[in-house]
C-alpha cells in the first residue's frame, strides 16, 4: 500500500503507531458500511491501544453487519509536523482515510489533560472545532461524540461535541448507530438526526440544554429545551455474563503500555472510597462468573498468543471467586503465560500464588494507604489502619519481596500537619521493616499524588488544595523523607498538572474558550509532564478572563447548581452529601457487599437486586 502517507512513515519515530495492520485488526468494506465510525483516543498509540474500552467497542461495532469502525490515536509531535507540512489530514489506521470522511468520530474521555489533543486531532482532519460551525456546514462533517468517565462532566467540551454517552457503551453504541443508519437512509438532516438521538437512553446532547450563570460565576440554572429530558441517566449493563465480549483481540506490533491480554472480570466497586470517582460512577458491582472467564480466556489466548494475561477491574481482589479462579489459571497457563492481577491483596492468597500473580518476588508490590493517619483514612473511607499496613509490609517483606511502593495522596479534605507527619512516619516504619528482612537491598518508594475532587463523588463540593499549599506539602515531605535512607525514594506529581486537571474535572461550559486558546497557543499532551506548558495555560486563562481558582480552591455550597447536575450516575445527591458529612466526622461507611445497602441508590434506579453480588469469602478482608 504505497499511498500518500508512506513517505511520512519513513521519517517519523515509531511509524508502527500509524501503520495499523495489527493481528485481528478489522478492515471492512468501506462502500458496504451504512455507518462508519472512527474510534479515537486522544493520546499516543501506546497509551490508547492499552485502553480496554475502546478495543471492546471496536469489535462490537465491526461484528455487526452494516457498521464499520476504524481507529485513530493522537499523532506525536513529529507526525503532526509531517502532516501539516504535507497538507495531509489525520487519518484512520485501517484504511488511511481522513477522520472527516466518517459519520461518527467518537473520543474516549479518560482524563481531562487529554482534551486539547482532541481539538488538535479534529483540526488536523480539517473538521471545524465548534459544533455550530459543523452544523452550519450541512451534513458533510462527522458527528463528534465522547464516552468514558469524562462524559460525567463533559461541560468544558460542550461547545465542541455533538453528544456524549454516559455509562456502559456495549449496547448503547449499537442503538446510536442504528438511529444514525435509519436517519441516513431516510435522508434526514443533521438537526433531525440529533433529535432522534435524544431518544437513546444515556445520550446527552449539550446543545439542548441552556446554561445560565449567576453574577458569582456559578451556574444559575440548566434548562432542557426542545423536549430534552431534564436528567440524563447513565447506561448500565445489568448482567456482565450476558454482555458482549469479543473472542479475539488486537495484538500490536509495537510494545504498548499494557502489552497483554486483559479481561474485565468485574465492573464497579462498592468499597466506597469517598475520593474515588471510578468507584462511584461505575456502580453497581457486577461480576463475570469464573467459568465464563476461564472459557473466554482460553479462546482469547488461542486467538492472540499473548504471553501475559491480566484480570482487570477496579478491585479484582474483591471478585467473589478470585482465589479459586486465579489458582486454576496459574495451574493451567503458567509459566509460559504470566497471570497478573492489578490490585493484589496479600491476605487473600497463599504466598506462592501471590508471587505468581505479581510477576515474581522481584517485582514491586504496591500498597495504597492513600493517607498518613487512621483518622484521615476514616475521612476518605479507606478503612485501613497503620497497624494493618505495617502488618502487610511485614507479610510482603517476610514473604520475599524487596520492593514496596506506598501510594498516598495529599490535599485531602481535613488534612493537617499530623497527617503529613503520618506519611513520613509510616514510610520510615515500613522501610525499617524492609531493612530488617533485606538489609540494604530493601526499597520503599513513597509515591504521592495530589488529590483532585471529582464530580459525582462525596467530595464534589470540596475545595481543591491550591498550588502553594501542594508545593509546600511536597517540600515538607521531600525534606523529611530525604535523609531517611538510601533505599527510600519519594516521587510526586507536578502540582500544576493536578491543578489544571481539577479545573476541567469540575469545570463548566465557559472553559471551552480556555481549551480553544490553549490549543491555539500550542499546548499538546498536557498529561505528559515533559510536554506540559503551565506558562501557556496561564496565558490562556488570562486571555479568556477566567479564573482557575474559581473551579478549584472554592468550596461549593450544597445548594449550588453544579455544572453536571443534569447528568446522573444513578447516585442520589443526598447520599453523596451524607457521605461528605460523615467524612467531616470521620465516620466510616461499610462496603454494601459486606453488610447491607448503604443507600447510594444506584440499584433502585436500575432495578437491580441489592446488595449486589455478595462476596462469599468470609470476612471481606482489607485491601492493599
Amino acid at each position: 500500500m504505497y499511498n500518500a502517507y508512506e513517505p511520512l512513515f519513513d521519517r517519523v519515530r515509531k511509524p508502527g503507531r500509524y501503520t495499523g495492520g495489527e493481528l485481528n485488526a478489522v478492515v471492512k468494506d468501506w462502500e458496504k458500511a451504512k455507518v462508519r465510525v472512527a474510534l479515537a483516543f486522544p493520546d499516543l498509540y501506546e497509551v490508547g491501544l492499552s485502553h480496554l474500552g475502546l478495543r471492546l467497542l471496536y469489535h462490537r461495532i465491526n461484528d455487526q453487519e452494516g457498521f464499520l469502525a476504524e481507529r485513530v490515536y493522537a499523532p506525536a509531535e513529529d507526525m503532526e509536523e509531517e502532516l501539516r507540512a504535507a497538507g495531509l489530514p489525520l487519518f484512520s489506521l485501517e484504511t488511511r482515510r481522513s477522520l472527516a470522511a466518517f459519520d461518527l468520530l467518537g473520543f474516549s474521555l479518560q482524563y481531562e489533560l487529554s482534551y486539547v489533543n482532541i481539538l488538535n486531532m479534529m483540526a488536523l482532519a480539517g473538521i471545524p472545532l465548534r459544533r455550530e460551525e459543523r452544523d452550519a456546514a450541512g451534513t458533510g462533517f462527522p458527528l463528534v461524540a465522547g464516552g468514558g468517565p469524562g462524559s460525567f462532566n463533559p461541560e468544558p467540551l460542550a461547545e465542541f461535541f455533538d453528544f456524549f454517552l454516559l455509562g456502559d457503551g456495549e449496547d448503547a453504541i449499537l442503538e446510536i448507530l442504528a438511529v444514525m443508519a435509519a436517519a441516513k437512509e431516510k435522508g434526514k438532516s443533521r438537526a433531525e438526526l440529533k433529535k432522534d438521538l435524544m431518544a437513546v437512553p444515556g445520550v446527552y446532547l449539550p446543545e439542548f440544554y441552556r446554561v445560565e450563570y449567576l453574577p458569582s460565576g456559578a451556574v444559575a440554572v440548566i434548562t432542557p429545551e426542545s423536549g430534552a429530558p431534564p436528567v440524563i441517566q447513565k447506561r448500565v449493563i445489568p448482567d456482565l455474563d450476558r454482555a458482549y465480549l469479543p473472542e479475539k483481540d488486537l495484538v500490536p506490533w509495537l510494545e504498548i503500555v499494557h502489552d497483554r491480554l486483559a479481561l474485565e472480570i468485574m465492573r464497579g466497586c462498592t468499597r466506597g472510597c469517598r475520593f474515588c470517582q471510578a468507584g462511584m460512577i461505575y456502580r453497581p458491582v457486577r461480576e463475570r462468573t469464573g467459568k465464563l472467564i476461564e472459557g473466554h480466556l482460553a479462546k482469547l489466548l488461542e486467538n492472540t498468543g499473548y504471553e501475559e494475561l491480566s484480570l482487570t477491574s477496579l478491585s479484582s481482589a474483591d471478585h467473589s471467586e478470585i482465589a479459586e479462579l486465579a489458582g486454576r489459571l496459574v495451574a493451567c497457563y503458567t509459566p509460559e503465560v504470566a497471570i497478573s492481577l492489578p490490585s493484589l491483596r496479600l491476605d487473600a492468597f497463599s504466598p506462592e500464588l501471590a508471587a505468581r500473580l505479581q510477576g515474581g518476588k522481584k517485582s514491586t508490590l504496591t500498597v495504597a494507604p492513600e493517607a498518613g493517619t487512621d483518622r484521615l483514612r476514616r475521612v476518605i473511607n479507606k478503612n485501613l489502619t497503620d497497624e494493618e499496613i505495617i502488618a502487610m509490609a511485614r507479610t510482603a517483606f517476610g514473604g520475599g519481596w524487596q520492593r514496596l511502593k506506598l501510594y498516598f495522596m495529599i490535599g485531602l479534605p481535613t488534612e493537617d500537619q499530623e497527617d503529613l507527619e503520618g506519611i513520613v512516619a509510616l514510610a520510615r516504619r515500613v522501610y525499617e521493616i524492609g531493612r530488617e528482612f533485606h538489609g540494604g537491598r530493601a526499597r520503599v518508594t513513597v509515591s504521592v499524588a495530589n488529590f483532585v475532587p471529582k464530580p459525582h463523588t462525596p467530595f464534589q463540593w470540596r475545595p481543591q488544595a491550591g498550588l502553594e499549599e501542594i508545593r509546600e506539602k511536597q517540600e515538607f515531605l521531600r525534606r523529611r523523607l530525604a535523609g531517611a535512607g538510601r533505599g527510600l525514594a519519594f516521587s510526586w506529581h507536578e502540582a500544576e498538572l493536578s491543578f489544571l486537571e481539577g479545573v476541567f474535572a469540575r469545570g463548566d461550559r465557559r472553559l471551552g474558550a480556555v481549551l480553544a486558546e490553549a490549543f491555539r497557543l500550542g499546548c499538546r499532551f498536557d498529561a505528559w509532564p515533559d510536554k506540559f506548558r503551565w506558562d501557556l495555560w496561564q496565558e490562556a486563562f488570562a486571555a479568556t478572563g477566567l479564573d482557575p481558582a474559581f473551579y478549584t480552591t472554592r468550596p461549593r455550597p450544597r445548594e449550588e447548581v453544579l455544572p453536571w447536575s443534569h447528568l446522573s450516575a444513578g447516585l442520589s445527591t443526598d447520599f453523596l452529601w451524607e457521605e461528605n458529612r460523615r467524612a467531616e466526622e470521620g465516620i466510616p461507611t461499610p462496603d454494601c457487599r459486606d453488610r447491607h445497602c448503604t443507600g447510594c441508590g444506584v440499584c433502585m434506579v436500575f432495578d437491580l437486586p441489592f446488595p449486589p453480588a455478595k462476596r462469599t469469602r468470609a470476612g471481606g478482608g482489607k485491601d492493599a
Binding site: Y2, P15, G21, V251, W253, T304, E307, P335, K362
Partner: protein, 240 residues
Amino acid sequence: MPKYRLRYAKFGPARFASHLDLGRALGRALRRAGLPVAYSQGFHPLPKMAFGPPLPVGVESEAEFVDITFTEELAAGEISRRLNAALPKGLAVTGVLKLPPKAPSLMSLIDRFTYVFLFTFSPEDTGAWEKEKTGAFLADLWQKEELPVVRKKKDGKQGGEKRVNLRPFWYDYNFSFIEQGLLQVAIDVAYGPRGTMRPDELLPFFPPAWRLQKVIRAQAWSRGEPVLPVAVHRGQTEGV
C-alpha cells in the same frame, strides 16, 4: 531438543517492526499455532529463538532467518504450514530446515547480503536515465576508493561521530530496468565482525533524480552460497 532454521519474509505492515517487536510477534504466533516450542527456564520463560542479523527498520526482506528449538520432532512442512496460518500479515515462512547438532549460528554463518533498491523518476527525468547512462554512473561509483559517511557512535554519551568508508563493504552490484522508468539496483554488502553498511547509507551517493520506492533485503549469503534458499526448501525438506 530439535532445532530448526526458518527462512521468512518481512513486508508491508511488518517492515517497521523492530528486532524486539519481531521477537514478540513470532513468540505469539508460535503460541497461536500451538507448536511445541521450547522455553527458557525461570519466572518469565521465553521461547528459545535465535535471530539472524537484524534488519534495519523500514526495510522489507525476503531473506530473514531464525533458529527455533522445539520440544519434539516435526515435519518441516508442518512447521511452515501451521506457522503461516498463525502469522500476522507481513510475515511469511518460506523455508524450514532441521539443523544438525552443533550447526553454526546464523550470526557466524552470514557474510553477505543482497539489497535491492527500486527507483522511479520524475516524468522529465524518465527519458534521461536509460541503460547506458545508468550503467556508466554505477560503474563510476564502483571505481571510487572512498565512499565516506559519518556515523553516530551508538552509546557515545556525548553524541560522538565517526567517519567511515563504505567502499570496502560493497562487494558487487548489478542493475536492470523492470520497465521504462522503474530501475532495480542490486547491491551486495559485506556482513560480519569487520563491519557492514546499512542500505540507507548508500542512498546519498545515488543521483537526486532517482526516487527510492523501496529497499528489499533479497538474499543472504554464506561463502558464496545463498543461506537456505527459498526454492529448495519450500516445505519438503526434512532432516537434512
